[in-house]
Amino acid sequence: MALYNDIVMDHFKTPRNVGEIPDADGVGEVGNPICGDIMKIFIKVEKKDGKEYISDIKFQTLGCGAAVATSSMVTEIVKGKTLEEAEKVTNITVADALQGLPPVKLHCSNLAADALIKAIEDYRSRK
């Protein structure tokens, strides 16, 4: 028995895309008003066939197991996706991809989706 399922634990143990992108095209930082966690997402955007897509993505998170796992999962979901596709990602997409989170931890998945949206907004506002 564990608090989290194996997929969550796998992402927590070996998080994908940890770090920062110094010359990022967009940066999104959100804080969790509920428990005080912080998450930061960096994106690089490139163009292919006339469409903008996320060519690279990295995250930094200070938070619980669910916060780390959802950050890792969201970066994995949207890496290589077009901005349009990435913008459709919600906390539910992330939680589902992790095959569920404990109910008290669902709010942590908002953080990941929100940070991603903010990073895309930041990219757009820079243009």
Binding site: Y4, C35, G36, I38, M39, Q60, L62, C108
Partner: protein, 395 residues
């Protein structure tokens, strides 16, 4: 596994387990029954009561067996206040501290809604109540002071003896005496717990913190202190706690208390050495670490098994899961681990902010921990903190 969460619970001691076994399927009588089987069970709990009374410096009639300290705290506080509210026309006043266990704090909050007044004494940065604050808080309608013997999160041992002596003296001059309750759950194993010398009127214990099973507790209630029973039914436990007695568990808690109190000095000394090694090692190896609770020069008033810290720029649950990967069990006061998503009320009361409390970790040692285990923690913990700090957006 390296178990360093003895303030949460302990393993049932195998020898203690043996002493309780006969009372399940062989000596299973109801102590209220008059035939031999019942009287045999009755004799067992009365013998346990005598042993417990002797250890606490009380008389047997002052010992009430309960299901746990939460129940003992409720019976003492709710029981005394409800009794006083019923006979008094005016609201009665309770004084407690802001670092009590939830079973005290929530009980006091609940009583405030029922017409009682409550003062929650603040504590200093090391987690100590100031007796001068207590003196100032006492009012004409104060009927109860409830201060824990030792804090479960940071190990600060409160000046119970001083408070007891002060109240005893004060009561000589008061029309309305002030009763004094202490939650001694964490203190009992390591500090002298004689109710006469502490000067307390009520004292709560729970068995599972000192190698008895979960689900049995004690309330010492001085003769003459009136409480309203919290459950109605039979006349067990001097009509103060209705319900058929949990005979095997009562036998076990008495045995565990005898063992714990006889080994108090030795156990405390060994554990203290390992604990000091853990604290020194962590402070040396992990820069920026804050030792929470009593500082080095006040270690005499710190539980010898408590080592609690805050690590900057990391979150407690993440540390705990990483420790768990290494087979190390500890606990945290981080908001993320609390279920209620509130950070530790104890650390907040001590003046730490949410971000600091976020990275809190508590190690509490027990009788079976070894030096090798401490060495292993000192080897495994620093890379975990470093890894998490690297992942953090805070620089």
């Amino acid at each position: 596994m390296i178990y360093l969460d003895h303030a949460a619970t302990t393993a049932l001691d195998k020898e203690i387990f043996e002493t309780m076994k006969p009372y399940f399927s062989e000596k299973y009588g109801n102590p209220s029954s008059i035939y031999f089987l019942g009287q045999e069970a009755k004799a067992a709990i009365e013998e346990a009561r005598e042993r417990v009374a002797k250890i606490l410096g009380a008389s047997p009639g002052e010992i009430i067996f309960t299901s746990c300290a939460t129940e003992s705290n409720n019976l003492a506080i709710r029981g005394i206040i409800n009794y006083q509210l019923a006979i008094s026309k005016k609201p009665v006043h309770i004084i407690t501290s802001s670092i009590e266990h939830k079973s005290v704090l929530e009980t006091c909050k609940g009583l405030e809604e029922k017409g009682a007044e409550a003062t929650y004494l603040s504590v200093d940065k090391e987690g100590f109540v100031n007796i001068e604050d207590l003196k100032k808080a006492i009012k004409e309608n104060t009927v109860l002071v409830s201060i824990m013997y030792a804090n479960n999160e940071v190990g600060s041992i409160q000046p119970i003896k001083e408070i007891g002596a002060y109240l005893k003296d004060l009561n000589k001059r008061r029309k309305q005496p002030v009763a004094f309750h202490t939650d001694a759950v964490q203190g009992f194993q390591y500090a002298e717990t004689d109710v006469q010398s502490l000067g307390v009127d009520a004292l709560s214990l729970t068995g599972h913190k000192f190698y008895a099973p979960k689900g049995v507790g004690i309330l010492y209630l001085k003769e003459g202190i009136k409480v309203e029973s919290q459950q109605t039914g039979g006349s067990q436990e001097n009509k103060k706690r209705a319900g058929t007695e949990n005979v095997p568990y009562i036998v076990a808690i008495a045995e565990a208390m005898a063992t714990a109190s006889s080994k108090r000095q030795v156990a405390g000394g060994q554990i203290r050495k390992l604990r000091d090694k853990l604290i020194d090692g962590i402070l040396e190896k992990i820069p920026g670490t804050i030792l929470t609770g009593p500082a080095k020069e006040n270690f005499a008033n710190r539980l010898p098994n408590n080592a609690s810290f805050c690590f900057p720029k990391v979150e407690g649950e993440s540390i705990l899961i990483n420790l768990d990967f290494e087979g190390i069990a500890a606990s945290s006061g981080s908001a993320c681990t609390s279920g209620s998503l509130e950070p530790s009320h104890v650390l907040i009361a001590m003046g730490y902010d949410h971000t600091i409390a976020h990275g809190s970790i508590r190690f509490t040692l027990g009788k079976d921990n070894t030096e090798e285990e401490i060495d292993e923690v000192l080897e495994k913990l620093p890379p975990i903190i470093e890894k998490l700090q690297k992942m953090s957006p805070l620089r």
